[in-house]
């Protein structure tokens, strides 16, 4: 066991020294991998942030019930009593048409339009909050529609759902991008290892002749793939982190205009580690494929 560890340690030192000997090529490779990984990673981060926003906004799903114009006080009272008896109803708010008009007049945009109107075009309305999520509200919808004097039922969760499905689309796109660029990463590693095997052809041949096992000969290439992948992953994280810093400056100003303190938040340590592991595994995979393909061709004669 200690022997096995020592051999790996020696290989690791050797590989790092080799990488250090050609810093230009190493840097370029790491950059290619880093940028390739940064694209889907950045997309994923944006989606995660948007998702968090959508979730916060949609925290309490609501339904608005707009009443028919001919509903009188008695109808409203009866309706209120029935709504209160519905299962899962947590909050019920009545907004009379006069109040709605007042509210609307408060906002500058509509004040002019509304003052030009002779009559109040707005209906009375109930705003209903439930303990359950958007799905439960949806189940409730036909029941609400069937109530007397209810003209229209508006699920406020609808736009959240639309946003959610947009986010889902984005996630799929990011996933496809990630898969494609992961293939690219494997290809880059494959090629790097191929070149490395070619430059070390003599050493491999001699090593085989004087008693090196296949495992020993393969090992440095696996290390190289792993290290290159991990460095690429680190580069990707650095790129995305820098972009977050830069974007947050503009986002801060924009959010302030909307009275929000929204900022892009970077990944937690768990996500970062997962990415590094993913990049390392891809590097290893590229090395594995390259080694299987090219090493058997070097057989001493």
């Amino acid at each position: 066991m200690s022997n096995w560890l020592r051999q790996h340690w020696q290989t690791l030192v050797l590989t790092l020294r080799r990488l250090g000997r050609s810093p230009g090529a190493t840097l370029l490779n790491v950059m290619v991998i880093g940028i390739a990984l940064a694209l889907p990673l950045g997309g994923y981060m944006l989606l995660q942030n948007l998702g968090a926003v959508a979730h916060r906004v949609a925290g309490t799903p609501q339904v608005s019930l707009f009443l028919a114009r001919d509903a009188d006080k008695a109808d409203i009272a009866a309706l209120e009593a029935r709504l209160k008896r519905l299962p899962g109803v947590r909050g019920l708010r009545f907004i009379s048409r006069e109040q709605a008009l007042q509210d609307l007049k408060q906002s500058e945009n509509f004040a002019d339009v509304l003052s030009a109107l002779q009559t109040n075009p707005l209906p009375d309305a109930f705003v209903l909050e439930t303990a359950g999520g958007a799905a439960e509200l949806e189940q409730l919808e036909p029941q609400l529609k069937a109530l007397p004097k209810v003209a229209h039922v508006q699920l406020d969760s609808a736009w959240v759902k639309r946003l959610e499905s947009l986010l889902q689309l984005g996630r799929t796109a990011v996933l496809i991008l990630a898969a494609l660029l992961a293939c690219g990463l494997v290809a880059v590693t494959f090629n790097t290892i191929r070149l490395q095997i070619l430059t070390q052809k003599d050493e491999i041949e001699v090593s085989k002749l004087i008693g090196a096992t296949d495992a020993f000969i393969r090992r440095p290439f696996f290390h190289l793939g792993l290290i290159q992948g991990t460095l690429g992953g680190l580069a990707a994280l650095a790129i995305v982190y820098l972009c977050t810093l830069i974007l947050n400056r503009s986002i801060g100003e924009l959010a302030q205009l909307y009275g929000s303190d929204f900022r892009l938040s970077f990944f937690g340590p768990g996500d970062c580690l997962a990415l590094l592991a993913f990049a390392a595994i891809l590097g290893w995979l590229g090395a594995y494929m390259s080694v299987s393909r090219h090493l058997s061709g070097i057989e001493p004669r």
């Binding site: 051999q7 003599d202 002749l209 004087i210 008693g211 090196a212 096992t213 020993f216």
Partner: protein, 217 residues
Amino acid sequence: MISFSQVRKSYRGGHEALAELSFAIDSGELVFITGRSGAGKSTLLKLIPAIERPTSGTVLVNGQNIGSMRRAAIPYLRRNLGLIFQDQKLLYDRSVFDNVMLPLAFTGHAYKDAARRARAALDKVGLLAREKANPVTLSGGEQQRLCIARAVVNRPSILLADEPTASLDSTSAAEVVEMFRSFNQVGVTVLIATHDEGLVQRLNPRVLALKQGRLES
């Protein structure tokens, strides 16, 4: 220790390098394999570390059958052999010292222990003072001695040398041969393939003379 019985080796295309070859070499022997080029000397030497496999017949090395040996077992066979190649196969991207360190890298020696062994081997061939040099800067005789140092650093029980004096002047050649003799004196079995008749006559060792893949009697 090494035994060939009815060994035939033919290459693709029908060229027969060895035919019906049978002999045995005991532990501690010093044997020269002679013959003109193309007589099968190199092929014979390549059969022992399983670089080539016999087409038919049996090659036994330390009781192991080379013909039926699993691929995975070959490295362990080779670690017990010291190989000196006709084309030397030195690595010019590293120092003399690192060339000798190479065989110790995969036997799992700690660095200190390995370095001590490598220096001992270099000392034996008189190259200790050149350990930091690149092999390119060595003379022909020194390069050949470096090959010997690399071959013996694992303390093999069998040394195989293919034309070790071919490109050397007579003084260097004599030095190299003397080195093989001294290894043989401490119990190492030594096989040397050569076409240098003068060398053989001087030492008067056991000789396997090959002609067209067969033993001349």
